[in-house]
């Protein structure tokens, strides 16, 4: 059974660069990003997430909104198990499929087919499973003969199709998406939409970070607004979106209601 549970999760990144002083200054004046602080060893660190608590159950489709650097991607990586939090506890039950920065972790010189296999293997799929889903991915991605060409010849959108195809072709419990809509064309978005809808229809958990309101309205039934690494609001889509918009109109991201 799919489940996600976060209790008082905090993520601190220590800044190791020599000129951490100027880094500190720079980020302090940026007005966005995580909160900067110093620990007992006088090291500067960015508090990318702090005090984040929520629980997701089957059927929950959570949207993540917030300014650039608010911690959306970091939160997704926490859910993917990449970052084990510096504070608090994370518990994720079920098979997780992350679709983040798709240009990373692909072999640009390998063909599309080879990358399907590679990606599926990294996601923990068995060899028999990979063979079965390759056809499905090829069909979904509609890349045709391109699948025999090296990935170097692909556009971002084409890479997206392939990565999205692999992650959604395999049966999983939790799907994590990061801003993937921005690179797909309209036809792909509609297709991906249907696929994501089918996924959530099987009472799985979906978490998606996005800036696009229509995406949120199409896919999510819960919304989490992150502001500088903290939960500014969490609740039904309409309610949170309303508050988020009001805060943006008021020109302040710093004083959530």
């Amino acid at each position: 059974m799919a489940a996600i549970e976060l209790a008082d999760v905090g993520i601190d990144f220590v800044i190791y660069q020599a000129s951490s002083r100027s880094v500190r200054k720079a980020i302090l004046h940026a007005g966005t990003g995580g909160v900067l602080a110093r620990d007992a060893n006088h090291r500067t660190y960015v508090r990318a997430l702090s005090g984040v608590s929520f629980a997701l159950h089957p059927g929950d489709r959570l949207g993540l909104i917030g300014a650039n650097g608010a911690g959306k991607s970091t939160l997704l990586r926490v859910l993917a198990g990449v970052y084990e939090p510096t504070h608090g506890r994370v518990r994720v039950e079920g098979r997780v499929m992350p679709i983040f920065d798709i240009s990373q972790g692909v072999d640009m010189d390998a063909t599309g087919y080879e990358n399907i296999t590679l990606r599926a293997a990294f996601l923990g799929l068995a060899r028999s499973e990979i063979e079965r889903l390759t056809k499905d991915v090829a069909e979904f991605a509609e890349l045709g003969d391109y699948l025999d060409l090296p990935m170097r010849t692909y556009s971002m959108g084409m890479m997206m199709r392939l990565a999205f195809g692999v992650a959604t072709a395999a049966e999983s419990d939790i799907l994590l998406l990061d801003e993937w809509y921005t690179v797909g064309d309209l036809a792909f978005r509609e297709k991906a939409d249907r696929r994501a809808a089918a996924f959530v229809g099987r009472s799985k958990i979906l978490v998606i970070a996005t800036h696009t309101e229509e995406v949120i309205r199409a896919l999510c039934n819960k919304l989490l607004w992150l502001n500088r690494g903290e939960v500014a609001a969490l609740g039904p889509v309409d309610e949170v979106i309303e508050r988020y918009k009001r805060a943006q109109l008021a020109g302040t991201q710093h004083a959530p209601g």
Binding site: R91, E93, G94, R95, V96, G105, A121
Partner: protein, 279 residues
């Protein structure tokens, strides 16, 4: 859409469950244990490096052949040694040195190399170590052809002694794995270390009896007896040349195996979960 049973790999990931030592142990078990994945990574890396070249990894073998020939001619004359005994010695010295040093150097760079992947998909850290060492084992297998050519040319028959190479290889491999894992954590946190390692290994190439016989330098025992790289080379080289490796080499490497894995395990218990933050 393909339907497969999701329950066959029900994953539970809980940061509050189990001690850090248990997490470290699981990392090694799941990383080294997933032979299918790390061997795939290893093959992929070899293919990627030589893609679009006709001879692929055999280019390394060819350049190795040139190096062996060159060194044997020059130093064979300088050391006044017969080519028949010296060339096979140099051949195995270079092949095994390449394997040992590249495994450690590339293993220690593994996390940085796979940064993009590690920030997306949760995988055991040790899988990247196994991939880097495995990649060099594949190159070693290509270079092994040179050994076969050399013993054919010089008519060398190592006899049954050659079987010692099997336990020897296992012991060397287990030592390389801890060294690569330990250094990978350190190299990810301190980015000067990989650069230092490069120079250190360049120096070690000359300090270790790779192309000079330890019998030529009876007074410098520390470079020989106290040098783990000498013992690693010996466990592989001696049996292939028809000698039984010295018992001291086995003892030495068994000690480094226990001490090294203890240190590596401690380091992983303490810093394993910090590694993605350092990338």
């Amino acid at each position: 859409m393909t339907q497969t049973s999701p329950s066959d790999r029900q994953a539970v990931f809980d940061t509050a469950m189990g001690s850090q030592a248990a997490h470290a142990l699981r990392d090694f078990a799941q990383g080294f244990g997933n032979v299918g994945l790390w061997s795939m990574i290893a093959w992929r890396d070899v293919k990627q490096r030589y893609r679009r070249s006709t001879l692929g990894p055999f280019w390394v073998t060819i350049s190795m052949a040139f190096m062996i020939t060159g060194l044997s001619i020059v130093y064979g004359a300088l050391f006044n040694m017969e080519l028949r005994t010296y060339l096979p010695f140099v051949c195995l010295g270079l092949i095994t040195w390449e394997f040992v040093s590249r495994s450690i150097l590339e293993g220690s760079a593994a996390f940085v190399q796979y940064e993009g992947l590690m920030k997306q998909i949760r995988l055991p850290l040790s899988i990247h170590i196994a991939g880097a060492v495995g990649r060099n084992a594949i190159v070693l297998a290509h270079n092994a052809i040179l050994y076969l050519v050399v013993i054919a040319i010089f008519g060398i028959n190592p006899g049954w002694q050659v079987l010692w190479v099997l336990p020897g290889f296992a012991l060397v491999l287990l030592n390389l794995l801890w060294a690569a894992a330990l250094l990978a954590v350190i190299c990810t946190r301190f980015r000067d270390v990989p650069l230092i390692l490069q120079s250190v290994f360049q120096m070690l190439f000359f300090l270790t009896p790779v192309f000079w016989s330890p019998t030529l330098m009876p007074t410098r025992t520390l470079l020989v007896e106290g040098n783990p790289f000498y013992h690693m080379l010996e466990l592989l080289r001696a049996p292939l040349l028809g000698h039984t490796p010295e018992p001291t080499s086995w003892v030495f490497l068994l000690i480094t195996l226990v001490a090294g894995w203890s240190a590596t395990f401690w380091l992983f218990s303490k810093f394993r979960r910090r590694v993605p933050y350092w990338l």
